[in-house]
């Protein structure tokens, strides 16, 4: 990639839950066109990082800039600035149909033609969603719900897609398929991806670069390949002895 165009820059981010500090000055960035993985154990602060970027968690200190501009504070503004989040646990609207869930993703897009085109993109990626279009989303399997959560996020036409623990609660084979789709979204649709995972192997395998977060701090960073081959990372996050 020429000139390393920085899309998302996080500097000295500090976030608290009540009196407890969850992030202790996190620095990281995502270049345009990359897939970046954030690896860490449960409670390391990975989700907090994504939620802070998404405007869902108040930032105490530090800055987040997106495409060279400071990010707005409110969640719906962030979403309308080209950052879409697939939240942890998917959080699809179980009371709405598949079609309505997708429509919520494109809520702020008033051009019906654009919405239709995006819907076709999502169907091309996840044909299953088209078959289930009028079904209540809550009646679908976990894997299908994850497809819907990703499809809903894509309906906003994001520049940056953020995925929070997409492997959670899914069968290994479904997880593999899902990460293949993420690569496809990255390559074919040109969407930059920031993925947070406990499943280090699968995430780093798909990613270009990675960060290891522990106790609210970045403890290691580098190319996905170097992290995959790092003995410390292997023993701490991949169960390699």
């Amino acid at each position: 990639m020429s000139g390393q165009d920085v899309l998302l820059q996080v500097e000295n981010l500090e976030v608290f839950y009540g009196g407890i500090q969850a992030l202790h000055g996190v620095n990281m960035h995502v270049n345009r066109g990359e897939i970046v993985a954030i690896i860490g154990a449960n409670g390391a602060g990975k989700s907090t990082l994504l939620r802070s970027i998404a405007g869902d968690k108040e930032i105490k200190r530090g800055t987040v800039t997106f495409a060279g501009k400071p990010l707005p504070k409110r969640a719906y503004h962030v979403a309308n600035h080209g950052i879409s989040l697939v939240p942890e646990g998917r959080r699809i609207f179980a009371n709405l149909s598949v079609k309505e869930n997708l429509a919520i993703g494109a809520y702020m897009e008033n051009n019906k033609g654009v919405v239709r085109d995006r819907q076709e993109e999502v169907f091309a990626l996840f044909p299953r969603l088209k078959e289930r279009l009028h079904q209540p989303a809550g009646t679908m399997s976990g894997g299908e719900q994850q497809m819907l959560a990703v499809g809903r996020a894509l309906m906003a036409g994001p520049t940056l897609l953020m995925l929070d623990e997409p492997s959670l609660g899914l069968a290994p084979i479904v997880v593999d398929e899902m990460f293949e789709k993420f690569k496809q979204i990255n390559k074919d649709l040109g969407v930059t991806i920031l993925v947070v995972e406990q499943n280090a192997f699968i995430a780093l395998d798909a990613a270009d670069r990675g960060y290891i977060i522990s106790l609210g701090k970045v403890v290691m960073e580098g190319s996905a390949e170097s992290l995959l081959n790092d003995p410390e990372v292997q023993s701490a996050y991949m169960g390699v002895k």
Binding site: D56, Y76, F93, L96, I104, G169
Partner: protein, 292 residues
């Protein structure tokens, strides 16, 4: 037989007034998980809006009804923007929002007593008191109007919620307001729409209630019954609120007609307690179930 039909019609008419009010409770509860206990004064202020539209401006009845609805919607928005929203922003527990609502209710009620006087006034239109006779059954125009217009209002509300984009935003918010915001929906706008709608329904029901009975600053107390109706139906469920309202209206009327009007409220509240003991979520209440 004609007496029975007469009671059914009266029951449906008062029930539709409860249903309109109960829908207002249910809408707000379904999204924000708290009951708007300032609802009584919102209804009362709307009714006075209609009364003064007639007394001061000489407005014809349809315009007065509209004025009452708009005044109630305005006060509903004021309550949301001045009190509930700032409290939600500070993550106040839902219980405190309800306590604030009770405070607003008392404040505005007493303000109305001080400025407008506590006296009971007839609604300044005799149109509603005229009687239509159909085969021995006499129906007051007010009953016809409140039954008919309530139905129209509820149908419009249904269309709005299930057929428009804003309605979709409301339904998504009622399932998960936080995620709805994350998906790019301006939830503050959704809340304004919801408070405006609940104000419109409160104003409409207030005008009907005033036409049927009388107008006075403490009339908002009737919204307690609508709250009962919303709970019987299942808090947060719109069809449940309508059902609960109609049921409560019929129940009250039947008790008044065949038992004693003195026992009306006693029995109505007893039934509510019994229903809650056996089905705490109400008839159509949403069961709290989450799929990870």
């Amino acid at each position: 037989m004609t007496v029975f039909i007469q009671q059914i019609i009266t029951g449906l008419s008062i029930g539709s007034i409860y249903a309109l009010l109960a829908v207002g409770y249910a809408l707000i509860y379904s999204i924000f998980n708290f009951s708007n206990f300032a609802f009584g004064v919102i209804m009362m202020v709307g009714t006075f809006g209609a009364v003064y539209a007639i007394n001061w401006a000489g407005a014809p009845l349809p315009i007065a009804i509209l004025a009452g609805m708009l005044v109630a919607a305005a006060i509903s928005l004021v309550v949301e923007v001045s009190t509930y929203r700032p409290m939600r922003r500070k993550n106040a527990p839902r219980l405190y929002l309800m306590i604030a609502g009770i405070g607003i209710n008392m404040f505005i009620e007493n303000l109305a007593i001080q400025t407008l006087g506590s006296s009971v006034k007839p609604f300044p239109s005799d149109w509603g008191r005229e009687i239509l006779n159909v085969g021995g059954v006499s129906i007051a125009f007010a009953d016809l109007l409140s039954g008919g217009l309530s139905l129209v209002m509820l149908a419009c509300l249904w269309l709005f919620i299930y057929r428009t984009k804003t309605g979709l935003g409301i339904r998504a918010s009622s399932y998960d307001v936080n995620t709805t915001g994350l998906m790019g929906v301006n939830v503050d706008m959704v809340s304004l729409v919801v408070f405006a709608i609940s104000g419109l329904t409160a104003g409409l029901s207030g005008v009907f209630y005033g036409m049927k009975y009388t107008v006075y600053p403490s009339m908002g107390i009737v919204s307690n019954k609508a709250f009962v109706a919303a709970v019987i139906g299942g808090l947060g469920s719109l069809p449940g609120a309508v059902l609960g309202g109609i049921l409560l209206g019929l129940l009250e009327t039947m008790v008044s007609a065949y038992v004693s009007s003195l026992l009306r409220d006693m029995i109505a509240y007893l039934v509510m307690i019994v229903i809650l003991v056996f089905i705490p979520n109400g008839i159509m209440g949403k069961s709290v179930k989450e799929k990870l």
